[in-house]
C-alpha cells in the first residue's frame, strides 16, 4: 500500500479501527504513523473541548466555509447556510486533511474560548459585541475566520475589564508579533504546498504552523481573558 492510499483510508475512517493492510503499512511507515497520531490527537482535543456536545454558532460555520473557499480548498454556493449537524458530518472528510485540520483546530479553540468568555464574563460580552459579526448579516459581509481570530485576539486586551488586571503591554505585543511570524510562515508554507503538492515536508511544516497558530491563539485568549496570569 502506498502512502496516498493510506491517507485516503484514514480520511474515510472516522473512529473505527483501520483495516489490516492499512495497519501493516502503518507499521513500516513513520510518516503515516505520525499522520495517524496527529489525527488521533486532533480527535482527542476536539472531543475534550466538547465539540460534539456544543453546537457552535452559525457564524462559526460560515466563517469556516469562507476561509476554506478563500483558500480554494472547497467550492460551493455562498447563499445557503449549512446546518451545523449536517455540515460537521459532510466536512469531516475534508477536515481530516492536515492543513484544514489545523484551521479547524484553531477555530475550535477560538470558538471554545469565545463560548467560555461569553458565559463567564457579562462585561466582556458587551465589549466583544462591538466587533462580533451579527447573525443577521448578509453572508457576503461576514468576516473571514482569520479576521475574526485576529480581531478577537488583538482587541480583547486593549481595554481594562472591571475585575481583571490590565493586560501586560509587553505580553500583548509579544503575542501580536508572534502571530505575525506564524501567519507569515503559514503563507510561505501554503505557497510551497501549492507549488509542490507532492512535497510531504512542506505539508508537514504547514500543518505544524497551523498547530502553532492554534496554540498561540489559545494562549492569547487565555492571557487576554485573565489580563495575564492570575
Amino acid at each position: 500500500m502506498q502512502c496516498e492510499q493510506f491517507e485516503q483510508i484514514l480520511e474515510q475512517q472516522e473512529n473505527g479501527a483501520l483495516p489490516t493492510r492499512a495497519l501493516a503499512h502503518l507499521e513500516g511507515c513513520g510518516v503515516c504513523r505520525a499522520l495517524s497520531a496527529d489525527f488521533g490527537a486532533i480527535r482527542e482535543i476536539t472531543s475534550e473541548l466538547g465539540v460534539d456536545g456544543i453546537a457552535p454558532p452559525e457564524r462559526v460555520w460560515v466563517c469556516l466555509r469562507n476561509q476554506l473557499e478563500a483558500e480554494g480548498l472547497i467550492h460551493g454556493s455562498r447563499t445557503a447556510s449549512p446546518s451545523p449537524g449536517r455540515a460537521s458530518r459532510a466536512w469531516w472528510a475534508v477536515l481530516q486533511r492536515p492543513a484544514v485540520a489545523g484551521v479547524f483546530l484553531g477555530l475550535v479553540l477560538a470558538a471554545a474560548s469565545t463560548i467560555g468568555y461569553w458565559s463567564n464574563l457579562p462585561h466582556a460580552r458587551a465589549h466583544y459585541s462591538e466587533f462580533a459579526p451579527q447573525p443577521q448579516q448578509e453572508v457576503s459581509s461576514v468576516p473571514t475566520a482569520d479576521s475574526v481570530f485576529k480581531e478577537e485576539v488583538l482587541t480583547v486586551g486593549n481595554d481594562s475589564i472591571p475585575g481583571l488586571r490590565r493586560q501586560d503591554i509587553a505580553v500583548r505585543d509579544s503575542i501580536r508579533r508572534n502571530l505575525q511570524i506564524v501567519d507569515n510562515f503559514i503563507a510561505i508554507c501554503e505557497k510551497s504546498v501549492r507549488e509542490q503538492p507532492d512535497n510531504q515536508m512542506a505539508r508537514e511544516y504547514l500543518y505544524g504552523a497551523y498547530q502553532q497558530k492554534a496554540e498561540l491563539l489559545a494562549t492569547a485568549t487565555n492571557r487576554s481573558l485573565t489580563g495575564g496570569l492570575q
Binding site: 481594562s160 501586560d168 511570524i181 495575564g228
Partner: protein
C-alpha cells in the same frame, strides 16, 4: 559689648535661624521626594514550608524574576519582593505540594505595578511547575521533573536533571549542563544546550536558532526542528550517531565524515531541498535535524 554689636549679632542669629529653617524645610522636602520616588512597598517577605523528599512546587507569577535554587534541607523557602504593594502573594501547602501565586489587589493594576520577584529555595530532589508571562526564570541544581510555560520570559537552567518541558512564545532557553530529557517549544525564542548530557531532546522553534554543543549519548534521540533560524550542532569525533538533516529551502553545512546509514531503510536523496543522511562511528544515537528555510550546521568541536 555695645548695643550695635549686640543688634548685629542678634540679626545674624535670626538670619542663621531662618536659613536653618529653610535648609531644614528643603531637606525635608528632598527627603520626601526621595522617599516618594523610591518604591514604597519593595519589602521582602518570606515563608518556610517543611516538606518531605521530592516536593512539588508550583509558581504562578505574571511579571517578575523567578530564581530557584537547591539546598540539602527538607524545606521550601519562598522569599519575594513586591514592586508596588499592589499585588499579594498567596501560598498553599498541602502535604508535599507547595503552591505560590501572585494576585493583584485592585482592578486595573498595570504589569509594572504587579511585578513580584521571587527567590525560592527547594530540596535538590523537587518537581517544579512554573507559569509566568514576563520576567526571567533561572533554575539551578534542581533534580526532578519540571514544566515551564511562559510568554516572553527567558529561561536559564543550570545543572538540572529530569524531564523538562518548556513552552514559550518568544522567550529563549539556555540549558547548561542539563541532564535527562528536554522538550522545548517556542515560536521566536532561541534554544541553546551547552554541555548537555541529555538522552532525549525534542526542540522546536519557528524563527529562533537552535544550538547544541554536547555529547550524543548512546541510545539517545535528538530531534531539532525550526522554520527559518539556524540549527547548529557541535559533535566530538568519538560521538556515535545516525544523522538525518534536511533543509527544504536552506543549506546543510557538514564537517563530519559520515558513512552511509546501515541501520535503517535506505534514504533516497530528497528531490526537495538539501538532505544529509549518514552514520558516525557505530550510530548509537539518532539525530534528526530539520529546517524549512534555515541553515543546518553540523560542526566538529575544537
Amino acid at each position: 559689648m555695645n548695643a550695635s554689636s549686640y543688634n548685629l549679632r542678634a540679626a545674624n542669629t535670626a538670619r542663621i535661624s531662618r536659613n536653618s529653617v529653610r535648609l531644614g524645610a528643603l531637606s525635608a522636602a528632598m527627603a520626601g521626594f526621595i522617599l516618594a520616588a523610591s518604591p514604597a512597598h519593595a519589602d521582602r517577605a518570606e515563608k518556610h514550608f517543611p516538606v518531605q523528599s521530592k516536593p512539588k512546587i508550583t509558581v504562578r507569577n505574571s511579571n517578575g524574576r523567578i530564581q530557584v535554587k537547591a539546598w540539602t534541607r527538607n524545606e521550601v523557602l519562598v522569599a519575594w519582593t513586591s514592586a508596588s504593594g499592589k499585588s499579594t502573594v498567596e501560598t498553599e501547602e498541602a502535604g508535599n505540594r507547595v503552591e505560590v501565586s501572585t494576585r493583584t489587589i485592585d482592578d486595573g493594576v498595570s504589569a509594572d505595578e504587579s511585578k513580584t520577584d521571587f527567590e525560592i529555595t527547594v530540596p535538590v530532589e523537587s518537581e517544579l511547575n512554573v507559569r509566568t508571562d514576563s520576567g526571567n526564570v533561572t533554575v539551578e541544581s534542581v533534580h526532578g521533573d519540571m514544566t515551564f510555560d511562559t510568554v516572553g520570559a527567558n529561561l536559564q537552567l543550570s545543572d538540572v536533571d529530569g524531564y523538562m518541558v518548556v513552552k514559550t512564545i518568544d522567550g529563549s532557553l539556555i540549558c547548561t549542563r542539563c541532564s535527562g530529557k528536554l522538550e522545548a517549544n517556542s515560536i521566536s525564542g532561541n534554544v541553546q544546550m551547552i554541555q548537555p548530557t541529555l538522552d532525549s531532546v525534542r526542540v522546536q522553534t519557528s524563527s529562533g536558532n537552535i544550538f547544541f554543543d554536547g555529547s550524543f549519548l548512546s541510545r539517545g534521540i535528538y530531534i531539532m526542528k525550526n522554520f527559518s533560524g539556524t540549527i547548529e550542532v557541535h559533535f566530538a569525533s568519538s560521538d556515535s550517531f545516525d544523522v538525518n538533516a534536511t533543509s527544504l529551502k536552506g543549506n546543510v553545512v557538514n564537517q563530519a565524515s559520515f558513512k552511509p546509514d546501515a541501520h535503517g531503510s535506505p534514504h533516497p536523496a530528497s528531490k526537495w531541498g538539501q538532505s544529509l543522511f549518514g552514520t558516525m562511528n557505530e550510530g548509537h544515537a539518532k539525530v534528526e535535524l530539520s529546517s524549512f528555510s534555515g541553515t543546518i550546521k553540523i560542526l566538529k568541536r575544537d
